[in-house]
Amino acid sequence: MAHGAGGKATRRLVDGLFAPLLLGGAAGGLGDAAALDVDGTPLAITTDAFVVTPLAFPGGSIGELAVNGTVNDLAVAGADAVALVASFVLEAGLPSDVLDAEVRAMARAARAAGVPIVGGDTKVVEHGKTDRMYITTSGIGRRISGVTVDPRSVRPGDRILLSGPIGDHGITILLARGELDLEAELRSDTRSVLPLVQAIIKVAGSGIRWMRDPTRGGVATALNELALDCGLGVHLSEDAVPVREEVRGACELLGLDPLHIANEGQFLAVVAPDCADAALGALRAAPGGEGAALVGEIRAEPAAAVLVATAYGGTRIVDMLVGDPLPRIC
C-alpha cells in the first residue's frame, strides 16, 4: 500500500522493479516525463493514473486532477502539452451524473490548459472491484528549446524557487473526507502550471536546472529525490516556504508536516544564481504566481540530503515521506 504514497516505497518500487525490467536499467533521476527525439523533434511523454476519495472536493475533482496532473508533468519537464489521451476504469453502478460531471470537468480543464484530449478508452468492472472511478491520462508535449531539466546539472549555489503556498490540495482532501469535524476555507490548488513554467523559461531559459511538481509526498519528497539524484545538499529556509494559515493550523493539529502534504498546482524550480531574481520576478508577475518565493539553495553539504533551517537558528533533516502521512493524536 505504501508503494503508492509517493515517498520512499514508490522510489524503491521504481528503482528496484520497473526501471531494471522495463526501462533498460535507467533507474534514478527519472523525471516527471520522458524525453524522446522523433525524427529530430524533441518531445516529452508521460502518463499518470488518478485515484482520489472523494471524487469531488472544494476547488476541483478527479477530472480536473487528471488533466492538470499530466499537463504539469510535461510542463516541469520543460514541455508544452500537445495532446492528451484518457482511459477510464468505472465501477458498475456508478451514477451517470457523476461520470458526466467528471467528463465535463476534464473538458473544462483541458480548455483552460489549451490542450486537446484526442482519444481514450473505457472499461467497466464489477461493482466492488474498484472505488467508483479511476482515470489515467497520458500526454505528449513539445520540449521548449533551450531548456534542459536535469538534476545532474544542479550546482552548489543554485537557488530554489517555489511557485506558491503548499499543502492546499492534501489538506483539502483530508478535510473533504469529513472524518475530522474540521472546517476551513480551503480549496485544492489544482491547475495547470504551464503558464508559470513558460514565464520562468522566458527569463531564465538555460539557467533552469531542474523542475518538479511536488504532488504526493509533497515538497520534502520532491527535494529528497533531487538531493539523491544530484548528490548535493538541498537547503531550505522554513520561514521562507509559503504555507496558508489554514494548512498550518490543520498540520499543527494533526501532527503533520506541510512539507509532506500533496500539491496539485505548484512547482519547484532550481535555477542558476544569476537568474534567480529575474525568475522570481517573472513568476510573481504572472497571474497565479503572486505567492512565489525563493525558498532555499543548493550547497555541497550535506551530501544527498535535505536540510531545513528553522526560524530559530536550528536545523533538521527532512526525509521523504514513508507511506501516507498519518495524524498523531496521543
Binding site: A309, G313, G314, I329
Partner: protein, 374 residues
C-alpha cells in the same frame, strides 16, 4: 497562527538562548530528560538541539505511548480484527506499529476492516452507524487520552450501545518516571515534565520527584519558546541548589489538574496490578483497566484474547536508550536493521519515539558532520 506564533518569535528565542548560555556552567555536563514524546518531537522538529550549549544533553524519556506498548498487545488487538464482524478502530499513531504478524495498516491491506479515528467518540459513532458489526477501539495513551476513552464508555453505557468495546492500553506517567529514577544506571540532573498529561493530572503528582529524589522538574509546553524557557527554569534551580516542581505551561496546566477528567477516569478505570512496558519491563500499578461496571464494553472480557507475549529482539537496546544510558545512534541496530520503515525496537515505531525522531531529523546531519573535514 494566533496563540502559537508568540511562542515561535525568533527574537525572543534568541534572547532566551542567551539567557541559557549565561546560566550554563561551562565546566559542567547537564543531563535533562524530557519525559514526553511530544517534547522529543518538538525538539527535533524545531532544531532546538542546535541552539542549546553543547554541555546540555537532552535525554528522551518514556512518554511516547506507542513506543512503550508491548508488541504482544498489538497482536492481541489485531487477532480480534480477524473476526469479519469486527471493525478495528485506532488512532493514526498506531497504524504503522508492527505486531509480530504485521501492523494495523498491513492488516487493512490484507482485507481486515481497520479504520483510523481521531477520537474514541468517532469509534462510538462507527458503532452506531454499523449496528450489525462490532467496533473495537484500540485505546492507547497516557492520562492525556484516557479521559476521552472514559467519557466514551460512559456514553456507550448510557445509550446502551452493545456493539462497541475498548481494548484498553492506557498507561500512567508517574510509575514510569519512578522506574526511570529507580534504575541503577540512571544519571539525570532534572526533568522537563510532560505538558499534555499534566493538563489532566496537574502538578502535585510530581512533588515527590523534587522532594524525595532532589530532582528539579518543570512542566513544559510544546512550542520552541516553552522548551527553552523550561530549560532556563531548570538551570536556575540547579544554580540555586534547589529542587522543586515548577509550571512553565500555566497557560494550559492548572496546578490541581482537571477534576472533571480525573472523575471520569475514576468512574471507568482502575489500576492494573502490573503492566508490561516495552523497553522497561513490568511496572506495578502503571496502567489502567476497565472497571467491572463497564465489563460489557471491555474487549478483554467480551472476547477471548490470545494473550500474546513477544520478547523484543535481544540486540535492540531500547531500555538503555529509554533510560538515557545510550544515545539512539549507539544502539547496534540503529539505522541498519532498525529504521522507521522497518522498526525493530520500540523507539523507532512512532515519530515521537526518540530513535525515530533522531533518525528522521538528525542522524544524516550527524553523519554529514562526521564526514566533513574539520
Amino acid at each position: 497562527m494566533r496563540f502559537v506564533d508568540e511562542f515561535r518569535d525568533p527574537a525572543v528565542i534568541t534572547r532566551t538562548c542567551e539567557e541559557i548560555r549565561r546560566l550554563t556552567d561551562p565546566s559542567r555536563h547537564y543531563r535533562f530528560m524530557e519525559v514526553c514524546g511530544g517534547h522529543t518531537h518538538a525538539i527535533y522538529r524545531f532544531g532546538l538541539r542546535d541552539v542549546l550549549p553543547a554541555g546540555i544533553e537532552l535525554i528522551h524519556g518514556p512518554g511516547c505511548p506507542v513506543c512503550v506498548l508491548p508488541m504482544g498487545r498489538i497482536d492481541d488487538g489485531l487477532a480480534l480484527a480477524r473476526d469479519p464482524r469486527v471493525i478495528f478502530a485506532a488512532f493514526g499513531d498506531m497504524m504503522r506499529v508492527p505486531g509480530a504478524h504485521g501492523s494495523p495498516l498491513e492488516h487493512k491491506a490484507g482485507g481486515r476492516d481497520v479504520r483510523i479515528v481521531y477520537s474514541p467518540t468517532d469509534a462510538l459513532k462507527l458503532a452506531r452507524s454499523n449496528p450489525d458489526r462490532h467496533v473495537m477501539f484500540f485505546a492507547i495513551g497516557f492520562e492525556t487520552t484516557a479521559p476521552s476513552t472514559a467519557l466514551t464508555l460512559v456514553r456507550a453505557k448510557a445509550e446502551g450501545i452493545r456493539n462497541f468495546s475498548v481494548f484498553c492500553n492506557h498507561v500512567t506517567i508517574i510509575p514510569a518516571i519512578r522506574a526511570i529514577l529507580d534504575s541503577p544506571d540512571m544519571r539525570l540532573d532534572a526533568f522537563i515534565g510532560p505538558g499534555h498529561v499534566s493538563t489532566v493530572i496537574g502538578c502535585r503528582p510530581y512533588e515527590w520527584v523534587a522532594r524525595d529524589e532532589r530532582k528539579p522538574i518543570v512542566i513544559s509546553g510544546f512550542e520552541p519558546l516553552d522548551l527553552l524557557q523550561s530549560t532556563v527554569m531548570l538551570l536556575r534551580q540547579l544554580r540555586a541548589g534547589e529542587a522543586k516542581v515548577e509550571n512553565q505551561y500555566a497557560r494550559v496546566v492548572p496546578w490541581e489538574g482537571n477534576r472533571a477528567a480525573l472523575a471520569a477516569m475514576a468512574e471507568v478505570f482502575q489500576l492494573r496490578p502490573y503492566f508490561e512496558w516495552r523497553g522497561l519491563g513490568f511496572i506495578s500499578q502503571s496502567a489502567l483497566r476497565i472497571r467491572d461496571e463497564y465489563a460489557a464494553w471491555d474487549a478483554e472480557r467480551v472476547f477471548d484474547i490470545p494473550g500474546v507475549r513477544v520478547t523484543d529482539p535481544k540486540a535492540a537496546q531500547c531500555g538503555e536508550v529509554l533510560k538515557g544510558v545510550l544515545k539512539p545512534v549507539q544502539c547496534k541496530l540503529f539505522g541498519r536493521e532498525c529504521t522507521p520503515e522497518r522498526p525493530v525496537g520500540a523507539l523507532m515505531v512512532s515519530s515521537e519515539g526518540s530513535c525515530a525522531a533522531y533518525y528522521n531529523y538528525e542522524h544524516r546531519k550527524a553523519a554529514a558532520a562526521l564526514a566533513a573535514p574539520a
